[in-house]
Symmetry: C2
Subunit: 158 residues, 2 copies
């Protein structure tokens, strides 16, 4: 209690230190989970639309090199999110499917929300890719409600 002693009467005082630490910690943790979610979401999309998710496809979609994907897939397999068969495409486990579905839904809500706010589709796509991983449950619900209110739940059935 040193720099926060006179917070109450200082409107421009620093935010509470403990709360700020918690925000930063949370954000750091989110960052670690981001890539995993991007991968499973993408894998789910590829499987749904193409029937298979090969390393080269994933790499091409993400814009990274194939060995980078190979390394990450090992981690996802170790985490029990995907199944790998040597020299074959990858498949999602039940856990992986669950995570992919959750990520996809969240991603769609964020994107629909940005669009409902009047943002161009292109920008909404880019921004939602970055924002989706940092949206809490509370905020996500607010986004969803806003979209439904604006669109009368016609456009997006999220």
């Amino acid at each position: 209690m040193k720099e926060n002693a006179d917070v109450s009467n200082n409107p421009t005082a620093l935010v509470d230190a403990d709360a700020q630490v918690e925000s930063f910690r949370q954000t750091r943790n989110n960052r670690r989970a981001e890539l995993v979610e991007d991968y499973v979401e993408l894998i789910a999309d590829l499987i749904d639309h193409g029937g298979e998710a090969r390393q080269v496809d994933i790499a091409q979609r993400l814009g990274v090199a194939q060995p980078t994907v190979a390394k990450m897939l090992k981690r996802l397999a170790a985490d029990g999110l995907i199944q790998q068969r040597r020299y074959r495409g990858v498949f999602l486990t039940d856990e992986g499917k669950s995570l992919a579905e959750k990520s996809r839904e969240r991603h769609q809500i964020v994107e629909a929300f940005l669009c409902a706010l009047g943002i161009s589709l292109e920008t909404a796509r880019i921004d939602s890719e970055g924002i989706e991983h940092h949206v809490s449950g509370e905020t996500l619900e607010a986004f969803r409600a806003f979209v439904i209110e604006r669109n009368g739940l016609a456009d997006t059935d999220v």
Copy 2:
């Protein structure tokens, strides 16, 4: 042109590959800039409110160890954003101040926006910490407009 050949008549087709790559690239780039922005923003806050930004203060606020801060400050100094004097606090260069101001404004808009949307202050603080770095100029303007419309620009003069 293999998996996108029949996009036009398939409403659930994958998004354009090139566009998706660009989103992921952008997000990766943003991620790299995040920490830098967090640091300069925090340093600016500390200087404005306490007069100095010591490594221990920064470390305590971010919730990381002090040598971690030391390493990052070296990078910021190399990037010309701060000035370091051995065994003294750090100071922002003009460039650093400019970046800090930009980050702070963006952060405030995002937080105010979330609050205007009805989200609790605590959640808004946490989420805005993660979201702020992924908001494009277009989206930021939409956020700002929304806040002004909701609040009649009384609460937050952003």
